[in-house]
């Protein structure tokens, strides 16, 4: 098997339509819509849940590729990634069921593949920094807010299920924090490159100011400070992320 695979080799059923995230955002902006679904209506929540569902699918596939692509990495690293595959595979199921709960279906919205592209980084340290800290950190932000909104809406199904997924995601962030340190021990250049990769992802997912610090009801994606701390982000890193969200101008 090829190792690693090109990002365009990601296999999908016919019912999913793949599209660049910026193209989808542009199409929406052209129609006078926000580029990223807000959480103001059941329909926009459904679109957000669909986006998360395909993200979980790609996270499962990405963690699986990490199990395969790095046979010389420490065994404990492989174990953590294999555990993540299992978690993400359950998350896919959870989000498909939540989509059904919201009367949606797989393929109702296009699939964007930013997450998968990040999961194709050639260095294991960059991959865990980008995926487990950058993307799973974003997942903590999104899920934390979704739990809050679901509670406010009085939807205990959504609230409880997403809260369990959030707990798993914090574990994955923790794994990322651990392996970023261990894999780059004694190699500051490798660490610098991995962190740089994570920061490009953070910058990208600030989505032109969509993600920022603020109350759940007022901010499209609010930064989950507490969940990030639990996942091993330092206060300095969180402060830096908040600062970058204040200068992100493009999606």
């Amino acid at each position: 098997m090829e190792r690693p695979i090109a990002y365009d080799k990601l296999a999908r059923e016919d019912r999913l339509i793949r599209m660049r995230a910026r193209e989808v955002a542009q199409l929406k902006v052209d129609q006078g819509l926000p580029p990223f679904p807000d959480l103001l209506s059941r329909d926009s929540i459904k679109e957000r849940v669909h986006g998360i569902m395909v993200g979980e699918l790609q996270a499962m596939e990405g963690a699986g590729r990490t199990v395969y692509d790095f046979p010389d990495a420490p065994w404990e690293f492989t174990m953590d990634m294999a555990r993540q595959v299992w978690d993400e595979s359950r998350h896919v199921e959870i989000y498909v069921r939540l989509l059904e709960h919201l009367e949606g279906y797989i393929g109702e919205f296009p699939e964007t593949t930013i997450l998968w592209r990040c999961a194709c980084a050639e260095d294991a340290a960059a991959r865990v920094a980008g995926v487990n800290r950058g993307l799973e950190g974003l997942a903590c932000d999104v899920f934390n807010q979704l739990v809050h909104i679901a509670r406010k809406m009085g939807d205990p199904i959504l609230e409880r299920a997403v809260d369990y997924v959030l707990a798993d995601e914090i574990t994955h962030v923790r794994m990322g924090s651990k392996w970023l340190t261990r894999l780059t021990e004694g190699d500051p250049e490798r660490r610098r490159l991995a962190i740089e990769f994570q920061e490009t992802i953070d910058e990208r997912f600030n989505l032109g100011g969509v993600r920022r610090e603020g109350p759940h009801e007022l901010v499209p994606i609010s930064i989950a400070t507490e969940a990030r701390r639990e996942g091993g982000f330092t206060d300095e890193e969180i402060a830096r992320l908040i600062k970058t969200t204040q200068r992100s101008a493009v999606y």
Partner: protein
């Protein structure tokens, strides 16, 4: 009567067998992990996703057992070069349309063989001084039995036509002799396998029938009547080879390039079907499959509402690798 302390394997031999198990299981874990991204069907993808972690835990348990047998921890060792060749052959099924070969290789060949090997080992292990090995064997047997049963459920779903059944049989017939030549995962032969007929019902989170339901959950698409009518007329015109009628649905700036026109011609006289429909605001992204007698093409269309009517604002062909799973 056999003495209760009579043994089957020396300590060193036991460690070697454990390293052989670990080699097979570690490679299987990595292969399944790598394959998920290359497998289009959700049911098979989730099947693999559920089992990567179980298998990693098996490899880990075997690896941790090694120091208790005076050997280095977490070391894998293939039984022989022929077993390596067998697993190399398993791993070659990486094209998206080879899901059947992937599932057959693991769930009809390797796992049933592992299950038989573990059971035989457990039956012959010494109950007085080998319980640590027996505990691991018992856990692996329970999991592998469940995995094989789940794999069979997915295969019954995938093998929808006689030619697909034939492909599955051909794959089995190609791989089984390689495994036999290796003497199985331990290299000691004889090479046997066990079916999963006696597997207990799976819990909901592990139920392969549920993975199939999730795969089939998108039945029909809620398409507005005007768009449904436009899609039908556009598809009819394309398969009839009436490009003038088809152009009526295209926005003025959209052109059918010569290459795409040739591919559409290949589907003439056939039929068309919607295979995907996604929303972007008021616009709709639709995959339209044109299936001719000899050739087919899947088009990706972006439909834009224009008052009471719809027009195609973008038209493109979907790459073959993404279009034809199974």
């Amino acid at each position: 009567m056999t003495h209760p302390l009579a043994g089957h394997l020396e300590v060193d031999e036991s460690a070697k067998t454990v390293r052989h198990y670990r080699y097979a299981v570690e490679r299987m874990t990595r292969i399944l992990g790598g394959w998920m991204a290359l497998t289009p069907e959700l049911s098979a993808k989730l099947l693999m996703g559920r089992h990567v972690w179980d298998n990693a835990q098996h490899a880990d348990a075997w690896g941790k057992r090694l120091p208790e047998l005076r050997a280095a921890a977490q070391i894998s060792e293939p039984a022989n070069a022929r077993l390596v060749a067998f697993l190399d052959a398993v791993e070659t099924a990486e094209r998206p349309e080879q899901t059947i070969e992937r599932v057959v290789a693991i769930y009809r060949v390797l796992k049933p063989h592992l299950l038989a090997t573990y059971k035989a080992h457990l039956a012959s292990a010494n109950a007085v001084y080998e319980p640590p090995t027996c505990r691991i064997l018992a856990r692996c047997i329970e999991d592998e039995r469940r995995h094989v049963a789940a794999g069979e459920t997915i295969l019954r779903h995938l093998l929808r036509a006689p030619e697909l059944e034939a492909r599955a049989r051909a794959c089995e017939a190609r791989l089984w002799p390689l495994l036999e030549a290796a003497g199985g995962v331990t290299g000691a032969g004889p090479v046997t396998r066990v079916s999963a007929a006696a597997a207990p019902p799976a819990p909901l989170s592990d139920d392969a029938a549920e993975f199939i339901r999730l795969e089939q959950s998108t039945g029909t698409w809620p398409i507005a009547p005007a768009l449904a009518q436009a899609l039908g007329a556009f598809g009819d015109a394309l398969v009839a080879g009436d490009t003038t009628a088809a152009r009526r649905w295209l926005a003025p700036e959209v052109q059918l390039d010569s290459d795409l026109e040739a591919r559409v011609r290949g589907a003439q006289g056939g039929r068309h079907a919607i295979v995907a429909c996604a929303r972007v605001g008021e616009q709709r992204l639709v995959k339209l499959r044109l299936e001719g007698a000899h050739d087919g093409v899947t088009l990706l269309l972006r439909w834009v509402p224009t008052g009471s009517d719809w027009r195609v604002a973008v038209l493109d062909a979907v790459s073959a690798s993404a279009a034809r799973p199974a």
